[in-house]
Symmetry: C2
Subunit: 119 residues, 2 copies
């Protein structure tokens, strides 16, 4: 698990990793990845897990993550259609990091609120 040098640098504007970073850290990307890390889910279930997301944005977010190879879309052509979204192995790696980030925020929330309230 050494931190070897990689041919990518997110600090450089033109690096392709920037685009993936923006998908992952987009408003709904973070929450969608985290919502999928517990277990796969269908469209409707995801909408319920990620409170406040619209159909449009969920659809758009899933497409972006799928295009990044982080999410797998599994279609069962039945009637009514049954579609399930699953994290790819790559997606699981990223989702775990996202989860850790969220947890780190929780740990910090009390401080945040103290600062906000000037206590």
């Amino acid at each position: 698990m050494s931190q070897e040098s990689v041919p990518f640098d997110v600090f450089t504007a033109m690096c392709p990793s920037r685009e993936v970073l923006e998908h992952v850290t987009s408003r709904w990307g973070v929450l969608t990845l985290a919502a999928l890390s517990s277990e796969p889910a269908r469209f409707g279930e995801l909408r319920r897990r990620v409170d406040g997301i619209s159909e449009k944005m969920l659809s758009q977010t899933l497409k972006a993550l799928e295009g990044d190879g982080l999410v797998d879309r599994r279609v069962h052509s039945t009637l009514p259609p049954h579609v399930e979204y699953v994290l790819t192995p790559a997606g699981q790696q990223v989702a775990e990091a996202v989860q850790a980030l969220i947890v780190s925020l929780y740990g910090v929330m009390p401080d945040v609120m103290r600062v906000r309230d000037g206590v």
Copy 2:
């Protein structure tokens, strides 16, 4: 390091942790936090580290992170003015998680590019 239950839930639209999450995962928030995690920096130095950021957005991002208690702004009232931005202990926790997220993306980039290119 147990994952105990906390009174925050980022999946709920009204949870105050959402706002902090959005600051941290904003387009420039991620990069600014990561840029500060190596070592404190001044305004101009940050601009150089985070390739592509505008003065306006750097200023705005730093203010948000400062308001969240993640960044400390240290002013030395000299001429010319000398201002240094430092991560708070809380900010270091979050910045580490952000760093880990970025590294996880690097590990995934080859897959991403394979998917994109359809190889």
